[in-house]
Amino acid sequence: MAARIRRNVWKLDRSDETLAWYGKAVAALIRRPIEDPSSWRYLAAVHGTPQGMATPASARGYWDQCQHQSWFFLPWHRGYLASFEATIAKTVKDLGGPADWALPFWDYSESLSTERNARLLPSAFVERTLGDGSPNPLWSRRARAPGGNFELDDTAVSTGALRFTNFTNSRPGVPSGFGGPETGFNPGGGDNGGIESVPHNRIHVKIGGDSGFMSDPSTAALDPIFWLHHANIDRLWEVWRNQGPQFQDPSDERWLTSVVFQMHDGDGRPITFRCADMLDTTKVLHGYTYEAVPVAQEAELESVEMAMAGGARPEFGGESEGPVVLTGPTTKADVVLVPPSGLEAATAEPRHVYLNLENITGAGIPGDYLVYIDVPDDDQPTASFIGVMTTFGLERASDKSLSHGGSGLSQVFEITELASQLKLSEANVSRLKVTFVREGVAKADADAPAELADYAAVQRKPANVTVGKISLFYD
């Protein structure tokens, strides 16, 4: 069979039945028992399981496998989506639908000038009920958003991550590239790759709000929109690679072949895959392609140089004087800079400067934080925006009993331009003032689809966040 084509959900014809069949399949899967690998709840449990939910012996090694804050994030989710797509497609076919059903993607980052609805939740997912009054299988427990407007602003849908020329990074103190840091299996802690942070993490928490399924990795895949969101992230991986020959996946065996993931195919049979199997989408399980991914470009080398992997070890440049507890709408913290030694002062300005947020721990769903650095402007300092600290997965990353030991999340921002503006390499600047502005989370609906009521009943811990340390590195 020819490879399936994943289409832009906002560009589907009025007569297109992709989403109608998706809804029918969801309704069928959601009724299946959780032990069935082709059930809705089993598939969601592959991503994560809520605390206290027992894993049946038959599901060991299959559940709770999602790869976050890792260079395995993109390839693992690619296999996961294919496994899901195969299951839905088989169900659609069994129900009498088309044989070539493919998962659509939601491109919230598309320019509003070409698609004015791009940032709205696709309409088929918005209403609780269908025209005939029956429950809408595509509705889920989400932040309250009239008309599907989750107020996705530029900071939420930015595809700035595409500018990374490196997929991964192994140097401490430096951003982790497009795809994520070099890690072992299932780290769930540490820092996110560029694409995982924004738009991935941002969209999760914007859609989920304070207690919706999407805000928590252990329930996220219960929401039917999860899969369209991840199809878009998966598509952006293709977009990234097609920008030019310098945009390369890792060639390291530790990434390509050393880790084996296991899931099920559309017929419920166990399958295994490695990252190396995930590089050509037409060969992933049944095979698929994306509509409208720009074809591979010849070299177009412009201002894309960002934190290349390899190179020298960055040098420590300063730190906060202790952990920073984020309470209230804004929190300010000082980073004390190391006085430049004679030798450093004698050399040229640093090529890159990075602000690190280390050991971000906490509980609940605190939402994301906008991070600013004060820039003196005559007398009145103005705050310059440097990026978003995302908190998706915070509680799990902070749990010492889980396999990564609860070290929390971390985040790295490149602030080179700002640093030269602030003349950080000059001796008279001794402090950097960092401000965290809480964005807050929207209140979510109290109820959930009837079959998933158990998941909605889980009590959430009150939200809190602490940044273990802010530090500065340069090279």
């Binding site: 890690t183 299996f185 070890r313 420590f316 609860g406 530090s471």
Partner: protein, 247 residues
């Protein structure tokens, strides 16, 4: 590729790649451990047959009763436990200013080993108190091996093992950095002790000596590095070692 900074679970081969011979891990974790292994293996050639892996008293006079076993215990811990702390050491080194990298890591190791030394002293005292047999007999060896194998199968072990992947934040400058490095070493020592102590004890009474040490070290390294730790398998290996001791 530069240095590897894997927050999360390292794979064993990752330690050996990426020019690791000159890296922090080699310098701060592998070098002390390799030296300890060398001393342990060389010791019998210099002092004659000696029960190298022990924290138990091996004689009546004060030195052989207390001091020697403790020194041997420290050697054994350095050989087996310090490499397991490689991820923490690597991150601490990476996050320290170049000028005080050695200082911070040394303090971390000091705190870490201090925890194990306290445990060694505690074991010696406890052994004295309950009159644990000085030369290992079938009974004492069996108890320790079977306890270790059982421990590997418990839920407690899994939780303790997970904690060993924790990396605490540390200040990088001044006294605060000294304090944090040492406290983090001491804290990591606690996680390490709770996960590994019961598996170390049979080694400390084994007549297989360095062979048992190497086998248990391999088990502990694998469970730290493996993304799905095969604790059942390691319980089985401990069981096989026990059979071997009995033979």
């Amino acid at each position: 590729m530069g240095e590897n900074l894997s927050i999360g679970i390292d794979r064993p081969l990752a330690f050996l790649r990426g020019g690791v011979l000159v890296s922090d891990v080699a310098r701060f974790a592998m070098l002390p451990a390799a030296s300890a292994w060398a001393i342990i293996l060389a010791l019998p050639f210099f002092v004659g047959p000696i029960d190298v892996c022990t924290a138990r008293p091996i004689g009546e006079d004060l030195v052989s009763r207390y001091l020697v076993p403790q020194l041997l215990w420290i050697l054994m811990v350095t050989a087996m436990m310090v490499p397991l702390a490689a991820p923490q050491i690597k991150i601490l080194a990476a996050r320290s200013p170049t000028v005080r990298r050695s200082r911070s890591v040394s303090l971390f190791l000091f705190g870490f080993l201090l925890r194990w030394i306290c445990v060694g002293v505690g074991i010696a005292a406890a052994a004295d108190l309950i009159g644990w047999p000085q030369s290992s007999n079938r009974m004492s060896v069996s108890v320790l091996y079977l306890a270790a194998a059982t421990w590997q199968l418990t839920e407690f072990k899994k939780r303790a093992l997970n904690r060993c992947h924790h990396v605490a934040p540390a200040r990088a400058l001044g006294r605060a950095a000294d304090r944090d490095a040492m406290c983090n070493g001491w804290l990591h020592g606690r996680y390490c002790v709770s996960s590994c102590l019961l598996t170390m004890l049979p080694v400390s009474t084994s007549k297989l000596g360095p062979v048992a040490m190497a086998a248990v070290f391999a088990l502990l390294l694998a469970e730290r590095a493996d993304h799905r730790p095969k604790l059942g398998l390691s319980a089985f290996v401990l069981f096989l070692l026990w059979i071997n001791e009995m033979a």
